[in-house]
Amino acid sequence: MTQIQSVEPSIGSPPLPPATSPEAKAPAEARSLLATAWMRIRRSKIALLSLCVVVAILLFAILAPVLSAMSGNDPYTSNTSPEVLDDFQTPGLPLPGYMYPSAQHWLGVEPGLGRDLFARLAYGGQVSLTIALLSTVVSVVLGTVLGAAAGYFGGKTDAIISRIMDLFLAFPHLLLVLSLTPILQSRLRDTPLGEGSFLPMASLVIILGFFGWAYLARIVRGQVLSLREREFVEAARSFGASHLSILFRQIIPNVMGVVLVYATMLIPTNISAEAALSFLGVGVKDPTPSWGQMLNAAQSGNWYLSDPWFLAVPGVMLIVTVLAFNLLGDAVRDALDPKASRH
């Protein structure tokens, strides 16, 4: 604890220059949002722990090529030799020395195909987290811009955007996403996005991003409704600033706190959604690994009943990741949005 605190000044904001001009003021405020969040997160052990876990998981995924090279394996090579997979008792089941962690295969091998589970988990993390993060970015951009526009312009713009939000919130997401993903994939197949293993990732990012913005937009709209009456907006208007400039320079920077909170909460939702869709067989497909695809592989052919470890590897990884992101999201919310705190 004390060590972390002594390191803090270099991580947190350096002493700010005295705010003499309006230009110097803007970056100071932008920094203070993250600095405030960090200051409060630092105080909670659970928040710090979840932050560390999140960073570790991100590193694990980013370093997938390095880590699997260190273990001497890759996610696609099958090792079906009789020393690894059983030929007699339960055909395809890894022999005891290869089912569980060993020096050669750090997390054992898959039954049936005999691919290295550690390499697939790491590379699968890249795929799952990329989809979750990119789709969150799409939702956040759409939600912020549309929500802010609805709240700021009011009138007809607001009425139209709000009705669209209602419609998006009424649709059962999983069902719609599930049935539209194959359709979108057939549309994308002949475009530059439709190349090989890239296609399922691109379609999941588009679909999850497109169906995730409405809730955030509603929250942003509510915030902007009160912001637009504030003096600094009035001042900007009296200086002759255009609507777009007010929207992007005055309004949106002021809702970034709320946006950050909901973005952190959207990430675990999207991780679960990718897992769900790939598990159902409409998302990432074999041979490309993702955590959802690995769950799918564990269920197909009921492998998980004879080799529970095969289910445990992606399952535990998924639970730990979603839990860490959820707890971090709670912490960011408590730090930035004290009104919404859980007492």
Binding site: L167, A170, P172, S179
Partner: protein
Amino acid sequence: MMTFILRRTGSLVLLLAAVSFITFTLFQLGPSDPAAAACGQECTPERVAEARVALGMDQPFLVQYADYIRGLFSSRMIGAPGAQTLCEWPCLGKSFQTNENVADIIGRSLPYTFSMAIGALVLWTISGVGLGLLAALRKGSPVDKFIVGAASVGVSLPIPVTGLFLLLLFVNQLHLLPFTTNEINSPFGPQGPGAWVANYLLPWIALAVLFSASYIRVTRTNMIETFGEDFIRTARAKGLAPRTVTFKHGVRAGITPVVTMLGMDIGLLLGGAVLTEQIFSVPGLGFTAVHAAISGDLPVTMAITMLAAFFVIVANVVVDLAYAAIDPRVRLQ
């Protein structure tokens, strides 16, 4: 009250119309060629052209939509001129795969989805509201902290992982419960209510673990807020028994957000618990939708999506009406 109901019903009809139109547009204009999808993998260009006529896709888009909606109110003829077959009311089109009436497929799936929904609902409402209330009453105690911690873990458990784990543990290892079977879809069947419960217990638990976690959070937050309000202090000051204050005054006022959630979740669940049905092989709406989506059976996925959205919207209106009945502070003008 009457005007309120009329106004809500009016907007309900509008919203349902919008949802049906959007779903229809997405599914008809979405795929590059629905006729090719209907025709199958090995299909000559001539057969695709025939399929297009048979599906009415040579017609203008709005005519197709009007035809579809007409089927909701009366039987209609479907197929290419000369080779038309009767699609009985309520007509939601015919399956590309089996040529069966989509309405029949849905009717067959519904009892399974109802069976899934009702038990899970009872389980998670009792556990979620009960534990949330307990945590609120013991705010700050170890009991509270434990419940809040468990809820945080609960919302982070993905259904595929919990579902497969439950099957592995209780069915495969401990042999306490049977694998789910298609033969039971009602407590009143020949096997009796006991077999029904045994058949659906694991799916109920898998759903309840996830859902009750968020009910715990919402109940706890709202009850703590309500217990801090003036009318509770007044009730206490009047010398009412703590039990009366908690349940008659506190819970009635603090439970409304939970009713909102409940209404929305019932609506959502009636549209099919996609993942849970898939894991436990329960052939309800969600299971049917997954298989139709994978095999490109557009009429089936479209009808189920529409139906599910209808359930959510209707649930929304019911929730609004229920508010007035539960919370004495809400008065409809």
